[in-house]
């Protein structure tokens, strides 16, 4: 059974978003998503300074098996990317919610977070899917 963290918000496309104390939002992919992908071997993140709209393509995660697009769960400017994933993409598998984060945005509208799924709603959706 894959882990779904209660304190996070989720997109139907399996990204998670976490509001940090400094007002930025960290984005990664869910445990369910990494499990479905299998061994991750390559991650393409957006660039720092890039402005993303919610739902826009923000990168790619490739496992041995397949490539999968990453979508921005929230609009804003990218302020940080997880450079460690370049050399150790497998961190996405081992620590999807912590060390395996993808990028951090400064949200243009924090209210967009409320449009995302909470843990229960995501759980229901990912179980159906």
């Amino acid at each position: 059974m894959s882990e779904i963290r209660n304190e996070l918000k989720y997109a139907s496309s399996h990204e998670w978003a976490r509001l940090e104390e400094d007002g930025t939002v960290t984005v990664g992919i869910s445990d369910h998503a990494q499990d479905a992908l299998g061994d991750v071997v390559y991650v393409e993140t957006p660039e720092v300074g890039q402005t993303l709209s919610a739902g826009e393509e923000a990168g790619v995660v490739e496992s041995v098996k397949a490539a999968s697009d990453i979508y921005a769960p929230i609009s804003g400017e990218v302020v940080a990317i997880n450079e460690a994933l370049e050399d150790e993409p497998e961190t996405v598998n081992s620590s999807p919610y912590d060390d395996g984060w993808f990028f951090r945005v400064k949200p243009s509208d924090e209210g967009e977070l409320d449009k995302l799924l909470d843990a229960d709603a995501y759980k229901a959706e990912s179980e159906e899917g």
Binding site: G38, V41, Y42, E44, E62, V64
Partner: protein
Amino acid sequence: MGNKTALYDAHVAMGGKMVDFGGWDMPLHYGSQLEEHHKVRQDAGMFDVSHMTVVDVDGAGARDYLRTLLANDVAKLDGNPGKALYTGMLNPQGGVVDDLIVYLRDPGYRVVVNCATREKDLAWMNEQAQAFDVTLTERPHLAMVAIQGPQAIEKVKEVMGIDWTAAITDLKVFNSIARGDWFIARTGYTGEDGLEIMLNNEDAPGFWQALADAGVAPCGLGARDTLRLEAGMNLYGNEMDDDTSPLQANMAWTIGWEPEDRQFIGREALAQEKAAGVENKLVGLVLEDRGVLRAGQKVVVDDTNRRGIITSGTFSPTLGFSIAMARVPVSVGDSAQVEIRNKLVPVRVVKPSFVRNGKPLV
């Protein structure tokens, strides 16, 4: 639910992630495809390949039949029971109906074809059999296990015991031994040494468990695909199909042109293609930069608008970067570009063989 092999319950018990493969419920991996891959390169792994189709070809006309049906010449097996031959089975247009291994038995022959093409193959083989004194018998009661890796043969000997030790030790590459329903061939699909063993369905779960107890890692279809791709081995449906000539699929070496009077199916079409000049060839691509090559991506070989196409691509667990096989215009040089998500990425063009016996070739 699809067909189940005799090892289905064992896969589930060992944590196999089951997926549909050509109508069969087969394990994709048992946790980590990468770990399974490395285990085969460095030690020993085992694959359930019972979904493959085994057909015995018997009768006075068996040899003549196979010399017509297959592009390679089974006459090469004469006098060496147990010996194996890799070949394409072609249609009259020179396309590949399937690729297969044929073993000389005593008497008769055994043919192992792909599961995804089973019905098409059997229909074609039966149609061609009309003109010969030959009987075709499918062997669904046989399971098949491939044990591959540098330690594979030692581990199999350990499990099979003293009665088999000498025979397995003496078994040469691309040869087989048969005793009762047990059929042991030194063949594989990984680029490592190893065996493919056919045995009765009833014996399969016990044999599988004994191998696991001896330290042979169960491996799924995921690792099987990355291993065969590193080894530069074709996958039917990717590197070739009904519309692809073996001359364009790195299979020219499997065509038995001699003797000239052997009229195998597809010969005329291949001879014409050769005379006119073969337009494409199958090459290997290496992407040492970051990214992953995937089937279907276009390959730019020169400044014309002619494009090649990747037939299989993956991240190579052994090499640590991406590799692919691609069908490209024969004019290709030693570098090319691949279109990945609307970007052109430079790749090296190599022979389609990347890893053998644990060692990188590129």
